[in-house]
Structures are given as structure tokens and as C-alpha cells.
Subunit: 183 residues, 2 copies
């Protein structure tokens, strides 16, 4: 089929949008190439194979394969089975809010896990020193101060847990509705 003017313009604007989408993903730590894979899938009406994507983004099959794995892990892309086809097919999750939800929940949970472990390790040590009457006063003061820090950090962990729960369950939408409310 011959390329006509309107279809060229459409492609051009899709490329502008794909670039912008990829750039926003860079903000959240994704490579621009991986962002473009997502962008190409976003604008595809039909599920695409690795080879089809490879063609569009001009990358090696290995890179596309790796990129897709990353996008599958963050749930921005999923594999679909296509009847009669042997190759794997991929589609983009087009709901941007859902993508942000998934991303944030994952990050906040990882953060929580990391901090939680360290706090649990440090807390008893500070507690012991704070209560040890044979310890020097400076150390006991230090320990007490650090216990205060830890208590504050624990409040933070609790807060991000409640935030990620509200995000994951969709409860957040009762506070910030998906649709703009009427005036």
C-alpha cells in the first residue's frame, strides 16, 4: 500500500508522542530505548512480536527481549497468546494511571523492606546502650537520639505502607477520583 500524506503525518505525530512517553519513563529510571518499546506497543492496535518491535525501534532482538522482560516485570506490558501463531506476542498496558500505581506500589514496598530490615537490626542495639548504666553518658544520649530517629522512620514506613495500600486497592480514587469532578 502506498504511503499518502495523512498516514505520514499520523506516523510523525505518533513518533512525537512515543518520544514523549519514553522521556517520561526515563524520569522513573527506565532507559529511553525501553521506553520506546513501550511507546511502539502503546500505538499498535494489534499485539506485536519481538521481530515486529525490533523493526520499529531499530534495536537488536536481544535488546528488545531484555527490554520486554523489564516491561513485563513492571507490568507495563504483557504477553498474549495468539491462536495459530508460534511467536510470543506483546501488548502494552495503556492505562497510564494503572502504570503509575504499579510503579509506585512496587517502589514504596521495596523501600519499606530495605528500611525495615535496617531499623530492626539497629533498634535493639540502641535500646541496650540507652539503658546500659555502665555506658558513658555521651553514648547513652546518642543512642536515645537515634531511637527517636528510628521511631520517626517507623512512622514513615507506616505511612508509605498505608499510601501503597490505598494505591493498590484503588481506595486512593475516593480521594482523588479518576474523572475530574463537575464544578
Amino acid at each position: 500500500m502506498e504511503k499518502n500524506d495523512p498516514s505520514k503525518k499520523i506516523e510523525e505525530m505518533q513518533d512525537v508522542l512515543i518520544s514523549a512517553i519514553a522521556q517520561t519513563m526515563v524520569l522513573y529510571g527506565v532507559t529511553v530505548s525501553v521506553g520506546r518499546i513501550y511507546g511502539v506497543l502503546y500505538f499498535s492496535d494489534a499485539p506485536m512480536t519481538i521481530d515486529e518491535i525490533k523493526e520499529e525501534v531499530a534495536m537488536s532482538k536481544a535488546s528488545v527481549s531484555n527490554g520486554l522482560r523489564e516491561l513485563l516485570e513492571t507490568e507495563m506490558v504483557s504477553k498474549v497468546w495468539k491462536k495459530g501463531e508460534r511467536k510470543d506476542h506483546y501488548i502494552a498496558e495503556k492505562d497510564f494511571i494503572r502504570n503509575l500505581q504499579t510503579f509506585l506500589v512496587k517502589k514504596l514496598r521495596q523501600e519499606r523492606t530495605l528500611l525495615y530490615k535496617a531499623i530492626e537490626q539497629a533498634k535493639p542495639v540502641f535500646r541496650d546502650i540507652a539503658q546500659d548504666e555502665r555506658a558513658d553518658e555521651t553514648s547513652r544520649e546518642q543512642a536515645k537520639q537515634n531511637l527517636t530517629h528510628l521511631a520517626e522512620a517507623e512512622q514513615y514506613l507506616d505511612w508509605i505502607m498505608r499510601l501503597s495500600n490505598a494505591m493498590e486497592s484503588g481506595e486512593i480514587f475516593t480521594f482523588i477520583p479518576k474523572e475530574k469532578e463537575e464544578d
Copy 2:
């Protein structure tokens, strides 16, 4: 002053916590070295100079200077003036919730700006093609479909704008209070 057992233990645990803090910052795209600079400042009772920080994190002065600039930009650290002292002094913002607020608001706004520009560029092009009776049917269909995508994306932009506003103003705390509520 001689190092005694409790003070060594305290330092050890602070290092564990600094590592954890730095790791969580890595999750959000910050270098582990920059994360450690923040961690060191977090546990310092007094404002610190570049040279003092440099000593603690074992990095070059230039690296510490660059790291501090990054932390200043993200508002995780601020400069304080110390009477009678010529050197700049730095302190950490210790409120983790505030740090997350600042980070998210900044990212969401950047994302909004990027996508908004691309959408504004593409929308009139799609609209023209969708309405152009001389354009081929396939292109007109494509254009209409893309306009739907853009409308959904605009809803997303609106949502993240409302989310970042709620974050920035602190309105979010009426929905997810800082302190855990009583049972």
C-alpha cells in the same frame, strides 16, 4: 577522646542505617554515593562542611560538591549559614515524608510538562485528518483512534496534577494521616 565499645556499636549501626537509606535512594534514581552523603548528614547533630562530609564518605571534594548540589536541587539538603564560619554548612531534611512529597511532586510535574507538550502538538493534526473528507478512510479511522488515546492521556495528566497538588499542599494527609489512627 578514646573510642569505647558503645560508641563503636552506635557508629556501626548508623552505618547500617546509612547504607539502607542510600539503597532506598538508589530506588529513586540517586547514586549510592549521593545517598550516603545524605545519610551522613542525616545522622549528624551539627551542620557539616564539604570537607567534613568528604572525610566521612571517602570521596573527592568535587564529588561531594556535585552530590550536594543534586541534594539541594531535590531539597533533601539545605545550606545553613554558621556564625563566624566561612565555609558553607549543610544539613539534611530529616522528614522522610516531606522528602517523598518533594520528590513525587517534582517528577509528576516534569512528566505532565513533557506529555502535555507532545499532546498539544499532535492533537490538531489528528483532529484535522479525522475531519478531512478527502483523507482515506484508514487514516481517518487511525486519527480518530489516536484522538481517543489523547483524551485518555489528558485525563491522566489531570489526575496526576490533582495528585501532585494534594501532595504539595498536604491535603493528602486528610486522606492518609501522618500518624496512624487509633483503633
